[in-house]
């Protein structure tokens, strides 16, 4: 695959197929002056080698905290954590910082939302890229430089030898995100977290970056976890989707199953809020009423109930469990899409409109 991966010694942690990452009952709570913020509340899912997972939800639903919790990047102070993250057979949550550092970059890497602030403004691109290579793989300066050149070529940066000696401010936003991707790919990780990788970029560049991640994933047999608020982005770039609401998983299914037969009203609402091409011009965008819930005092029962058009009294008292609708398709709702209550309310809503 890549010549520098031959140097890898830790092959034990990276099965070439099958389950790579298992998250079980993971929670991350922050204790703040106002109370405990349940940013990630008992989340479980798994990821196979080479699989593309999408984590979807609106701002503040815990997507970013979830991805950082999995990697173990969060500060230890004022954080209550629990559950387990098993990566290639090794438990990450109890692992020492020293061992985790060996995994960061080499086994798991992350692309950040804002390429403007994720690159050090006073260090040349080439040097920033060479750092992980020299730390993890113990490369010499010359070797690292050659590898960096190849990496920059891989991520589609023109004139890579020139870019090596440039600073971040001399590159465009899309270029910087490509550099970030090259940096994350440098040591050939088996899981790549992409935390809203295209949010800060304009639409034309978004597609290029997503395609680039996809191409690199295929070439390197990587798994990707794409964190985004945009259902449109995950549609074409994932195999499996986790929909989060208020720190919890509310629906989880393969991409086809989710878009074909979504169960959770929240997923439906997210889907409806995407502007459609076939709609006539000046159609009002469908929005989700209300605001994302307060994570310190989440609503009782189903957390989406205050904003849900189908909610009944049962929804505000009893929290729906995560149940399996069809193999691999999980959801948590008392009145899922297609149920009696759903039909009833939908008809009434259509009449009103």
């Amino acid at each position: 695959m890549n010549d520098f991966r031959a140097n890898e010694t830790q092959t034990r942690l990276r099965p070439e197929s099958g389950e790579l990452l298992r998250i079980d009952d993971l929670y991350t709570h922050f204790s703040t002056a106002l109370g405990v913020v349940r940013a990630v509340d008992h989340v479980s899912f798994s990821l196979d080698r080479g699989e593309r997972l999408g984590i979807v939800g609106e701002s503040g639903c815990g997507k970013t905290i979830l991805s950082r919790s999995i990697m173990g990047l969060l500060p230890r102070r004022n954080v209550l954590r629990g559950g387990s993250v098993v990566f290639g057979g090794a438990e990450l949550t109890t692992m020492s910082l020293k061992d985790r550092r060996r995994i960061w970059g080499a086994e798991m890497a992350m692309i950040f939302q804002d390429p403007m602030t994720s690159l050090n403004p006073v260090i040349k691109i080439g040097k920033q890229l060479a750092e992980p290579l020299r730390v993890h793989l113990g490369m010499t300066k010359a070797d690292a430089r050659a590898t960096v050149l190849k990496l920059l070529q891989d991520v589609g940066i023109p004139e890579p030898d020139k870019r090596l000696d440039q600073y971040a401010h001399e590159l465009s936003g899309g270029m910087r995100q490509r550099v970030m991707i090259a940096m994350a790919l440098a040591c050939g990780p088996s899981v790549l977290f992409a935390d809203e990788p295209t949010t800060a970029l304009d639409v034309t560049v978004q597609a290029q970056i997503l395609d680039l991640i996809e191409r690199q994933r295929r070439e390197r047999n990587m798994s990707t976890i794409l964190v985004t608020h945009d259902l449109g982005v995950v549609a074409g770039h994932t195999d499996k989707i986790v929909v989060m609401y208020a720190g919890k998983i509310v629906e989880m299914a393969s991409t086809g199953s989710l878009f074909g037969a979504m169960k959770m009203p929240y997923t439906e609402a997210l889907f409806q809020s995407i502007p459609k091409l076939e709609q006539p011009a000046h159609t009002r965008l469908v929005t989700i009423g209300g605001r994302p819930p307060n994570l310190i005092h989440p609503p009782a029962g189903c957390r989406f109930s205050p904003r849900c058009p189908y909610a009944t009294d049962a929804c505000t008292t009893h929290e729906p469990p995560l149940v399996e609708a069809s193999p691999g398709h999980w959801f948590a709702c008392h009145h899922p899409v297609g149920s009696e209550r759903w039909h009833e309310v939908s008809v009434r809503r259509r009449e009103v409109a």
Binding site: R101, G105, M116, N120, P121, V122, P132
Partner: protein, 349 residues
């Protein structure tokens, strides 16, 4: 008629565009021209400052080999010889600089008169003040530079550690810095110098350069540490530090490779201004008789020495004061220029 109306009518559109073109070109030319002029003025003063500092540094280093004369008793085998020299050359005592022209009822001075000597005049002992000032540059610059270097090494390290590690470490370091900042600076320095000097002798002869530097380092640590700490806290929260962590960088590596390069410019520019302050502080110490021992000239000591003769021999105080003023001004100008030069370009836009 038609011939004349056509050219006048036709260019009704043209003249406006013709007028507009030179009009715009004038404004376009003048705007960068003034900007360039403004910039150049700043550059000239900066280079003047650099020339002065370079001159001073070379003089300070090479003072022993440069043809400076009769500057202190150091050149004589013993004190007795020095005193005889001073006595025999009594005529040289307190002579005004060569360029001075002034009339005074007690000491009328005329241009080209024989009783004038040297660029800066002479002091009571008949020593050349210019030579003494240049030898004094040695001590003043050395003390200023060494103090600030140690101040940066210690204060910078403390600030980086406090800002990055945070929590209890930060609280402890910050409290200590606050305690030092709470002392009146001059009293603190006098106390330290007094404590480390030979307290038995009233004569300051045994006093070396070390306690003075030590005192000034102590003086410079707290502000540097606070500045670096504040900057470190800002950069430690930046996304690129998280990015480095997510790639498995160790804390020591993050501090030295990610944060330090960002904090460094602020540190250096602050240090340069700090050096100017420390040179003045050394002058204040010397003025109080607490700096390097008497025969070795420092600027502060020279200013102090001439104070009592200010009415009759003003040059004894004024000349070293002027040199100190120019030096401190030059250092500050250089600091400003470096601030401008070092402004970090954020990767935004």
């Amino acid at each position: 008629m038609s011939d004349t109306t056509v050219p006048t009518d036709d260019p009704t559109g043209d003249p406006t565009s013709n007028q507009a073109t030179p009009g715009t070109s004038v404004t376009e030319d003048s705007a960068p021209a003034t900007a360039k002029k403004f910039r150049r003025r700043g550059v000239v003063t900066m280079w003047l400052a650099v020339v002065w500092l370079v001159f001073l540094v070379f003089t300070a280093i090479g003072a022993s080999w440069l043809p400076y004369v009769n500057h202190s008793c150091d050149q004589f085998a013993d004190e007795a010889q020095c005193i005889t020299h001073i006595d025999t050359n009594a005529l040289l005592s307190e002579r005004p600089p060569v360029w001075a022209t002034f009339s005074d009822t007690t000491r009328p001075v005329v241009r080209d008169a024989a009783e004038r000597a040297g660029l800066f005049g002479t002091d009571t002992n008949g020593f050349d003040i210019f030579s003494r000032t240049m030898f004094g540059a040695r001590y003043s610059l050395l003390i200023g530079a060494l103090s600030i270097v140690f101040g940066i090494l210690i204060g910078g390290t403390l600030g980086l550690v406090a800002g990055y590690v945070g929590r209890r470490v930060d609280r402890v370091i910050d409290s200590i810095m606050n305690i030092f900042l709470a002392f009146p600076a001059l009293l603190l320095v006098i106390f330290i110098v007094g404590f480390f000097s030979d307290s038995g002798t009233t004569e300051a002869k045994s006093r070396s350069i070390v306690p003075i530097i030590f005192a000034l380092v102590i003086l410079s640590i707290p502000p540097i540490a606070r500045l670096v700490r504040a900057n470190t806290i800002v950069y430690a929260q930046r996304e690129f530090v998280t990015a480095a962590r997510s790639l498995g960088a160790r804390n020591s590596r993050i501090i030295t490779r990610e944060i330090l390069p960002n904090v460094f410019p602020a540190m250096v520019t602050f240090a340069i201004t700090g050096m100017a302050i420390l040179i003045v502080a050394e002058g204040a110490l010397a003025y109080l008789g607490l700096s390097v021992s008497a025969p070795n000239p420092t600027w502060g000591a020279m200013i102090f020495g001439g104070q009592s003769r200010l009415e009759t021999a003003w040059w004894m105080s004024i000349m070293p004061s002027a040199v100190m003023f120019l030096t401190v001004l030059s250092i500050n100008l250089l600091g400003d220029a470096l601030t401008e030069r070092f402004r970090i370009r954020e990767a935004i836009g």
